[in-house]
Amino acid sequence: MDNLFFNEEHTMLVKMVRNFANSEIAPIVQDMDKKGKIPKEIISQMAELGLMGIPISKEYGGAGMDTVAYAAAVMEIAKVDASVAITMAAHTSLGSLPIAIAGTDEQKKKYLPRLASGEILGAFGLTEPSAGSDAGSTKTTAELDGDEYVINGGKIFITNSSIAGLLTITTNIIEHGENKGIGALIVETDNPGLKIGPKEKKMGWRASDTRQLFFENMRVPKENLLGQPTEGFKTFLKTLTGGRISLAALSCGTAEGAYQKALQYSTERKAFGKEIHKFQAIGFKLADMATEIEAAKLLTFHAAWMKDQGRDVTKQAAMAKLFASETAMRVTTEAIQIHGGYGYVKEYDVERFFRDAKILEIGEGTSEIQRIIISRELIKTFSKVA
């Protein structure tokens, strides 16, 4: 991995993030999981180190690093804690990048420096009770009234929603009685028309902030429209596929974190007079886990590298996300099995990795959606050849 995809800066970044995660996050992981909250200091320390704006250009206060660097940082944090990793990834991939990709100069100047410096967190609202990957079924409406859009509707499962300073939401854009199609609007979270629901009681990612949003005649200035509806929105959604790379990286980190715990345990725990890794049943499990993690990392970094080359990563990002998330589920399951009964109690951490893994097969497009995307891409290229 190091030599194939990493340059000197990547290697330094990985070392720094690994040290940070092990020294600052690891000691409080169980406490965060129990309390369902990430201390503000962790996020502000990350902001100070530049981790909240890795792929945002220097012009707007980011680090101006590439997708490989961003994926590597998400992966290192996820090896220790998925909740912190998703807070950073949702802020960056969903809260900041859409503005960097589709925003006007004014929008970029106004919002990106605050996001990239970590002064405020970003969030993205797409999912509704009956719309997620099927964005076309979005029910939320934004009706133009003078210089403002009046928004009604709501969103569910929104990461970072109560700690964010800025939201980007998808909505039907209605102008002069005509539905122009689905577009995106930037909403500052101190908007009086925004109501934020209570924290969801989730299986995993316990310390990550996930809530429901309600919009009641929420008024947003016209200039907050992000990109253009109809044509523009399709392109806009496509640029978001890059976000799947960060979920793939998060999956690799979750898998590796659990695998490292299992490997360690297998060298300490003895049964029938020898360390359990010496039993083929355990040794083969470890071999499979390590091999699958290596494959998932290669897919992830390859997709990231392709994105950095400016190439279309629709298929590669979906493949990386699909394989890495399913690897995380398998590896965390086996990590518990290797721990036996100890794996089922919270003290040994693999229990948390297992709970944190399941959402990876669901968020940012379920495994089923990824397979739809991949198969569509396969047919597309096949038709081109024929």
């Binding site: 800066e9 330094m12 040290n19 530049g50």
Partner: protein
């Protein structure tokens, strides 16, 4: 306030060592290398002093082969301004006196107010280089430093003595201080620091060009004690074999 920090690259604490074939050194390939631990604290102290004073430079000086660039870049990423790399290839000079004299020649025109070094290197651990260098440059010197307070033309240092005792000492500047681990919290390099490290100047010198003294001590060799296994084939008739076995059990393995 211009500060020089001596930084050495040493094998990481988790490294597994093997002696090289001719017993002259360790096998270096695949060894993980890190910044010497106490040097990291010396660097942090230097950065904090510069921040307090609001002006001046922190200059890294490192002696060793090309791989040292890694720890030099790391120090630059944390905020040091520039570096001097004294290239020294294997076989490594392990004599603190000639190393200090090369360092002295490298920095003699720099007019540093402070030279900070780690208390000792985690590989050889002589703990002499910073003190000898200080003497060569005509500086006041102190070791086991666990606290600093810069004053007008002077520096007050806290030194760690035995049995939980500490000593405060005020010294004239310029001074060379050997820093004990744990006196501060070393920072992480920020992404901005990592991205700008490459653009900072690293002046390159060659050890052989700037070392003008003979070694006072040299390295004789390395060895590891091995437990040896011996197999003895007992031959002869049954009586001879049994007698020899009983002898081994009684007198060599000592089974009672």
């Amino acid at each position: 306030m211009n500060i020089c920090v001596l930084i050495k690259q040493v094998p990481g604490s988790e490294a597994q060592f093997n002696v090289s074939g001719d017993g002259s050194w360790i096998q270096e390939t695949e060894l993980p290398y890190e910044m010497n631990e106490s040097d990291n604290y010396a660097l942090e102290e230097a950065l904090q002093i510069r921040e307090q004073k609001g002006a001046g430079e922190v200059v890294i000086v490192s002696l060793g082969p090309d791989r040292c660039q890694k720890v030099i870049r790391e120090a630059l990423a944390k905020g040091a301004d520039r570096a001097i790399h004294i290239n020294a290839d294997a076989p490594y000079n392990t004599d603190p006196y000639s190393i200090a004299s090369a360092l002295a020649n490298a920095v003699k025109d720099e007019r540093f107010d402070l030279v900070l070094s780690g208390l000792q290197s985690d590989d050889l651990g002589f703990g002499q280089t910073g003190v000898i260098l200080g003497e060569m440059l005509g500086m006041t010197t102190a070791t086991l430093v666990v606290g600093t307070e810069v004053q007008e033309g002077k520096i007050k240092v806290k030194r760690e003595l035995e049995a939980g005792w500490f000593q405060w000492q005020t010294m004239d500047l310029p001074a060379s201080l050997a820093i004990q681990s744990g006196l501060n919290t070393p920072r992480y390099p920020s992404l901005k620091g990592i991205m700008t490290a490459k653009k900072k100047e690293i002046k390159k010198l060659n050890f052989v060009d700037i070392c003008n003294v003979d070694e006072l001590q040299s390295f004789a060799g390395l060895s590891v004690q091995h437990a040896e296994k011996q197999t003895e084939m007992i031959e002869g008739n049954i009586d001879q074999i049994v007698n020899r076995l009983v002898d081994v059990f009684k007198n060599e393995i000592r089974i009672n």
